[in-house]
């Protein structure tokens, strides 16, 4: 039995969230719209209608290319990819063939703590197709999606496992979300994956026959399809069989790949330069502007958090997962620069704030209080003005009403008692009311101190500074 290694390349199609479609003025957002509402002569492919390039889509694609360390080409040529299908109104898709917008990039991914670089062959721009719904007696065509800008990212065959493919796709999604160029929502079809997979014996450099798997519309599907194909091909080879060069689809319900097209049925797309669109020349100044507008990307951000603020790798990764969360966190740290530590802010952010965001499902933009108020809350706790539990209560008030933390503290009378005279008085009372536990402590039962501190907190309605209370208790009981 030979042991094989998988050689995997990925093609990821990502819908761009531009205002209008790729080649006409129709809205690019189609989710939930009545069928064929967002259409015009151009995207319906009426006779005589012509395409006009959406500059925003070009900028988004170049931005993505820059984020993936690609070369951005000044001269761009669109090409026609000819084939017939009812969801393709013109009978050809306007795409890029010989001269794509971006080439020769790389994406660093992390799998189980280990780093790896996946080469990016090209990033190009094309248009989406419409949608077919099969009903009894025929199919219904909805062209709302036809002509929506679609970016295709093609990787080098550098991926070796389902886990790496998963990491690659998640990091791509994170980047396009960071850039704000796509929702990256796989369940809404905004991101669709294809896998090219072949096997090679681990001790050989001879690659086997390549199989293409299309229609991978979830992270789970990417992982399961690769796992399935590796197993299927390994079994075939070890049984002395041959892997056929085919295009397969992923059957989600049966959890297996199924043959869609054999090599003999391969299309000849008859690509040629789109004569309706002159070559698109990108101004180098514009490319520079785009490069300057590139936000700090998640990997760089996480590295900075660890270096500057000594955050753990896990916290840094959590905080930088979404750009809006990271930016909120950074704004809070900046606002509380003199009063709070980044670590404290990270704890509050990944704990309380993330929990509340996840529970409520709201966006960071909809948090009712500004990062500065969040920093103020943390400062109140850090400096002992209120205790941690009170801090959580204050946050609840901020979350609900957007009120300022100091106002809530004042209104609820939550200010922590750190006045030693006041604490001493409560401590004396607690010892008097609990003679047995006090005696047990004096007899050496150290654990009882927790109970006594709890009693002090109860008497102070939670406002006593617990550290001061404990110190006072020890002092009194020792005397």
């Amino acid at each position: 039995m030979t042991t094989y290694e998988a050689i995997i390349g990925m093609e990821v199609h990502i819908e761009l969230q531009t205002q209008s479609k790729m080649f006409c003025a129709c809205p690019a957002s189609f989710f939930g719209a009545a069928p064929n509402i967002n259409t015009c002569p151009t995207c319906l492919a009426l006779p005589g209608a012509l395409p006009v390039i959406n500059r925003q889509a070009v900028a988004y694609t170049a931005l993505t290319g820059l984020a993936l360390n690609c070369r951005i080409h000044r001269r761009n040529v669109f090409a026609r990819k000819n084939y017939f299908y009812p969801d393709l109104p013109k009978g050809y898709q306007i795409s890029q063939y010989e001269l794509p917008l971006c080439t020769d990039g790389a994406l660093d991914i992390t799998v189980a703590g280990a780093g790896k670089t996946v080469g990016i062959t090209r990033v190009h721009l094309e248009e989406d197709t419409g949608k077919l719904t099969h009903v009894s007696g025929g199919s219904l065509v909805d062209l709302n999606r036809a002509g929506v800008p679609l970016m295709e990212i093609v990787s080098e065959p550098d991926i070796r496992s389902a886990a790496e493919a998963y990491a690659y796709v998640s990091q791509l999604r994170q980047i396009v979300r960071y850039l704000g160029v796509s929702s990256g929502d796989m369940e809404k079809g905004a991101m669709r994956c294809e896998v090219n997979l072949s096997l090679k014996p681990v001790d050989s450099e001879v690659w086997g026959t390549k199989v293409e798997v299309k229609n991978l519309n979830s992270f789970r599907a990417v992982r399961n399809a690769i796992t399935w194909e590796i197993a299927r091909q390994t079994e075939t080879l070890n049984a002395g069989g041959q892997v056929e060069q085919v295009t397969m689809g992923w059957d989600e319900t049966r959890g297996r790949t199924v043959v869609q097209r054999s090599k003999e049925d391969a299309h000849d797309y008859r690509y040629f330069p789109e004569p309706d669109l002159p070559p698109l020349n990108l101004d180098p100044v514009r490319i520079d502007e785009l490069a300057d507008s590139l936000p700090e990307l998640p990997a760089a951000k996480a590295a900075r958090y660890r270096a500057t603020w000594q955050l753990s790798a896990q916290d840094a990764a959590l905080l930088t997962e979404h750009r809006d969360r990271a930016e909120y966190f950074e704004a809070a740290v900046a606002a509380g620069a003199d009063t709070i530590s980044a670590r404290a802010a990270a704890n509050w952010m990944t704990g309380e704030i993330f929990r509340r965001l996840n529970e409520s499902g709201i966006a960071v933009a909809d948090i009712k209080f500004p990062p500065a108020d969040f920093a103020r809350l943390i400062a109140l706790v850090e400096t002992g003005k209120i205790n941690r539990q009170a801090g959580k209560d204050v946050l609840a008030g901020m979350w609900q009403f957007g009120a300022q933390p100091d106002a809530i503290v004042a209104a609820k009378g939550l200010k922590q008692i750190s006045d030693s005279g006041a604490i001493e008085k409560i401590v004396t009372q607690v010892i008097a009311e609990n003679p047995d536990p006090a005696a047990q402590f004096r007899a050496g039962k150290e654990k009882v101190i927790g109970f006594l501190v709890g009693q002090v907190m109860r008497h102070s309605r939670g406002k006593a500074n617990p550290k001061l209370a404990e110190a006072a208790l020890r002092r009194k009981l020792a005397s």
């Binding site: 002569p41 012509l50 690509y271 309706d276």
Partner: protein
């Protein structure tokens, strides 16, 4: 005298309309009556809109009464059926679009509407503009008004015949390899193909996207200038239009110095064997006339001329094979249902397209297919660049080029129908302007056996003013009033 108003040129009609000697309704009625009288013989129109035309004429008269002086206010025009007209059937001469009524207007139609023009109806064309005689129209063949047994040329044969027979004051056509100029020459009218990108293609039913241009057919050079001035200009809906100001072509004619000092290139490759002797004679006479009025003829060479026809038929068919993919029976037009989706595609396209269209789709798809692309399409594009350079070099030497529009006069119906290659060769002098993207105009330059001969004048890119002025000077020197064919 309203019964002969149809004979007016646009310039003459405009003068009388603005002096309020005639109304747009009278003018339009006269033209409609002329159509009723002769179109059963000429068969220039695929469809007519008499009520809409009269309604538009009434609106034009109201606009004029309100002080409007739009340049084409109240002028009835014929529109080739390859141009999209909102609410008016647009078939492009094909069964596959037989009942297609577009929901939008071509940019040129919008511009004509703003200028006050009236659309009489849609004129016949070879199917999807693929042909040189209108014999490839899916509906019928138009007759040449000068000899009803002859073809009017094509593909804008309907528009050319309509002008020659005075069934419209002016017309629009489209020209991919000579489709305006060749029929204009065959019918003895003026036809102009503008520089590629001078006129918007938005709403022209695409044939060869890198070659197609829309242009005027008219009774006089001045009328052609006026029409071109109206339809030219940058269009944000057509990325291949040129963002350059549109000259006042019409007014510039009055300021022209005619032939004085004009350097006219005479390409030796165009005076070849196969050029009919009467046509060659007419060309020599035209050159002599220009020279006698102060022009300086210079012999030039356009060395890649011999590759024009093969290069043209590779590029035009390749682009057409893709452009015609949208006629699939899914969204509009003919649908011939089959047992399944693929069968429906096959049946629809088999029933909807005529033999010439199918021939060109197959030729073009072949030229683009894997393994042949480099040898055919790519090679053709490279030779096209050489052809363009031929002209650039020539226009460093001369102002305009004189050449025959066609190798011979109009041929008899049916004469070339069984020989596609012979039919293709009738485009030999016109395809070059489309390949090079330069403007060309044809003006009547005499007759042979009762059939008109056309003089073609080519200019450098965006040199419409130069060719219009040369054509105008020729028209004046020849002192020929628009003749009336014997129908």
């Amino acid at each position: 005298m309203t019964d002969s108003l149809f004979q007016l040129t646009i310039e003459q009609a405009q003068a009388r309309l603005s002096r309020k000697e005639i109304s747009a309704v009278e003018l339009t009625e006269s033209v409609l009556n002329r159509i009723l009288a002769v179109d059963n013989q000429v068969k220039a129109f695929l469809s007519l809109q008499p009520e809409a035309a009269l309604e538009a004429a009434r609106r034009a008269d109201d606009r004029r009464a309100a002080g409007d002086t739009a340049p084409l206010l109240g002028i009835p025009l014929a529109i080739k059926d390859s141009i999209i007209t909102k609410g008016v059937p647009t078939t492009c001469g094909s069964k596959i679009l037989e009942n297609f009524v577009p929901p939008y207007n071509a940019t040129v139609i919008k511009k004509l509407g703003r200028a006050g023009a009236i659309v009489l109806g849609k004129t016949n064309t070879d199917e999807f503009t693929m042909g040189s005689s209108t014999e490839h129209s899916a509906f019928f063949t138009t007759s040449n008004p000068w000899n009803l047994n002859c073809v009017p040329g094509g593909s804008s044969g309907g528009s050319a015949a309509a002008i020659a027979a005075h069934e419209a004051l002016g017309a629009l056509g489209t020209d991919t390899g000579g489709s305006i100029r060749q029929p204009a020459a065959f019918c003895g009218v003026v036809g102009l193909k503008p520089t590629y990108g001078r006129v918007s293609r938005y709403g022209l039913i695409a044939h060869g996207s890198s070659l197609d241009q829309c242009g005027p057919l008219a009774k006089s050079v001045a009328d052609a200038a006026l029409l071109l001035q109206t339809i030219a200009g940058h269009d944000p809906r057509d990325s291949t239009t040129l963002d350059r100001p549109v000259p006042a072509y019409f007014d510039d004619l009055k300021r022209s110095h005619g032939f004085k000092g004009l350097k006219i290139g005479i390409p030796r490759e165009y005076f070849i064997e196969g050029l009919a002797p009467p046509v060659e004679k007419a060309m020599r006479a035209a050159i002599a006339l220009a020279e006698s009025h102060g022009a300086a003829p210079v012999e030039i060479s356009l060395p890649h001329t011999q590759y024009g026809i093969p290069v043209y038929y590779l590029i035009a068919t390749a682009e057409a094979s893709s452009n015609l993919s949208r006629y699939d029976g899914v969204r509009y037009g003919l649908r011939a249902p089959g047992d399944d989706m693929w069968q429906t595609y096959f049946e629809t396209r088999a029933a909807g397209f005529g033999p010439e269209v199918k021939r060109r789709i197959m030729l073009g798809a072949y030229a683009l297919s894997a393994g042949y692309y480099d040898a055919y399409y790519l090679k053709a594009q490279k030779v096209r660049t050489l052809i363009r350079r031929d002209f650039e070099a020539a226009f460093r030497q001369v102002d305009v080029i004189f050449a025959p529009t066609t190798p011979d006069v109009a041929f008899a119906k049916g004469a070339n129908l069984d020989d596609p290659l012979k039919m293709y060769l009738s485009d030999v002098f016109t395809v070059m302007a489309n390949l090079a993207g330069i403007p060309g105009i044809t003006v009547p330059a005499g007759f042979s056996a009762g059939l008109p001969i056309g003089l073609q004048i080519l200019g450098p890119a965006l040199g419409e003013s130069a060719i219009l002025q040369a054509a105008h000077a020729f028209e004046q020197a020849a002192d020929r009033h628009p003749p009336i064919p014997p129908i």
